[in-house]
């Protein structure tokens, strides 16, 4: 492993309910099984579904840490800038839920600007420096386009847009691509589309006629995912033979991750 390499950051975005979290979990699984690279998964969805999919328990979110610190400051505890940075770094690492070759950071409720926006700024820096200590960072984005302007999404290497075959899903990824990539709201090298729950190749062809986003891969309806979701089994335990797993592996290879 070349330890001097820069971290690779991949953000997974799209409309709610299209399977972003499942795909992120399978990406984590693929990487964690493949080699000795260390992976940081960031769950930027307030619902914290990625933890369940990865089979780990989140005890504290970034929002909890921020609120606890603000409460201590309001009580009269005094911190200088370097102490706050130290403390947040320590607390954020303590908040990581760790699995096999990966760690998960849950963002929780998105920040609100206000009197304590400097703390948000420190947290942004800390996430940045923490990310650099991992080889690959995978961000499971909040549904929709709002998050594009938030702290974990300023710079990514790959923006993976996920949609089902619905027109709404495709409209959302087209909007995200326009805001993030074309309008440069996010600095990213590559944007690609993953179609999920596809029933036939014909559906794929039709959708590709309506969007200019590069297709990274398409995932058929997968009974394994349905069963695992139904039984509450973490998707990280999904067998390698499942169709979703095979496609996600292929996508990771095509992204050269």
């Amino acid at each position: 492993m070349n330890t001097t390499k820069r971290s690779r950051t991949i953000a997974i975005c799209g409309k709610g309910g299209v399977g972003k979290t499942s795909i992120t979990a399978l990406m984590v699984k693929t990487l964690a099984k493949r080699d000795d690279r260390k992976i940081l998964a960031i769950d930027a969805d307030p619902a914290i579904g990625l933890a369940t999919a990865l089979g780990v328990e989140v005890k504290r979110t970034l929002d909890d840490i921020r609120n606890e610190l603000i409460a201590r400051i309001k009580k009269g505890e005094k911190y200088d800038k370097s102490n706050i940075v130290d403390m947040l770094d320590y607390e954020v690492f303590d908040a990581l839920a760790e699995g096999s070759r990966f760690a998960l950071l849950a963002i929780g409720r998105p920040e609100t600007e206000g009197c304590y926006c400097q703390i948000n700024s420190f947290l942004k820096d800390i996430i940045g420096s923490l990310s650099q200590k991992f080889d690959v960072v995978l961000i499971d984005g909040e549904a929709g386009v709002e998050q594009i302007n938030r702290r974990v999404m300023k710079t990514v290497d790959d923006l993976v847009l996920v949609s089902d075959t619905s027109a709404k899903g495709i409209n959302v990824v087209s909007t995200i691509k326009h805001v993030a990539y074309d309008n440069k709201a996010v600095a990213c090298q590559r944007v690609g589309l993953v179609l999920n729950r596809v029933r036939s190749e014909e559906e794929v062809s039709k959708i590709l006629g309506r969007t200019s986003i590069e297709l990274l891969g398409w995932i058929p309806e997968d009974d394994y995912i349905r069963e695992y979701d139904f039984d509450g089994i973490p998707l990280i335990d999904l067998p390698d033979t499942s169709p979703s797993n095979r496609v996600v592996k292929h996508i990771m290879e095509s992204l050269a991750i």
Binding site: T3, T4, N83, M87
Partner: protein, 242 residues
């Protein structure tokens, strides 16, 4: 009275008592440690942890003090109270770390800036398989050593030696010694007792620099300022420069 004269004296008493009980192992660091760097990617995830020191669930204390007196510092000395890392594979240990520095030319003009620089030194340590998280304000330090590093021989000699080398890269530091405590929560708590006085002095220095008020009648650090002459000198310089 020097900033940390009391703390140095208390540490010596603590060490004397532990030594009388046969609990102290001494290692002499000679030259560069030669441990490979981690390339800035020193994340040790729980699955790879060989030994964990001072985790948030454990007792932990860490601080650095300095003195101008050569006689007070046993340069290059690494003292260990408790098991070394090789004997602790798979364990999570309580952790105490005290660094005593022999510093030259500390005065009221430069002490605060040097304190900041000294505090930052531990973050410059880049040792493969060694991960550190620390909160200066609470004097807590949490670290992990990977299984791979342990298998390659990582020990307190390696860690202490690398730290001593780092401190001595500063041109105003002539000597450094380190005390590690892993024996028990009680032994670490005793160090915590000593650290409180150090924290008060650091807190007073921070307050002088960070805050505009110099009203001693309302200041929570008035007692340490009265006791420690060097602290009053720093205060006078900060007040003059405002």
């Amino acid at each position: 009275m020097g900033l940390f004269d009391n703390a140095v004296k208390d540490i010596r008493e603590y060490m004397g008592e532990k030594s009388d009980k046969g609990k102290v192992t001494e290692i002499k660091h000679s030259g560069k440690s030669g441990w490979p760097p981690g390339g800035g990617r020193n994340v040790v995830l729980s699955e790879d942890v060989g030994v964990e020191l001072g985790s948030p669930q454990e007792e932990s204390v860490s601080f650095v003090i300095w003195t101008g007196s050569k006689n007070e510092v046993r340069d290059g000395n690494i003292s260990l109270i408790g098991p070394d890392l090789q004997a602790s594979k798979g364990k999570s240990l309580p952790f105490g770390k005290v660094v005593i520095i022999e510093g030259r030319g500390f005065n009221e003009e430069n002490t605060y800036a040097r304190y900041r620089a000294i505090e930052a030194i531990r973050y410059d340590l880049d040792l493969k398989g060694y991960m550190l998280r620390a909160v200066s304000q609470y004097q807590k330090e949490w670290s992990r050593v990977s299984k791979e590093a342990l298998d390659s021989g990582f020990s307190f000699n390696v860690l202490g030696g690398a730290l001593i080398d780092k401190f001595k890269e500063q041109d105003y530091i002539d000597g450094a010694e380190i005390i590690f405590v892993t024996s028990s929560r009680e032994d670490v708590r005793e160090i915590r007792g000593i650290s409180k006085g150090v924290a008060r002095i650091i807190g007073a220095m921070n307050k002088m620099v960070e805050e505009m008020s110099f009203d001693c009648s309302t200041c929570e650090y008035a007692d340490v300022c009265s006791e420690v002459l060097d602290l009053r000198k720093i205060r006078n310089v900060v007040q003059r420069d405002r």
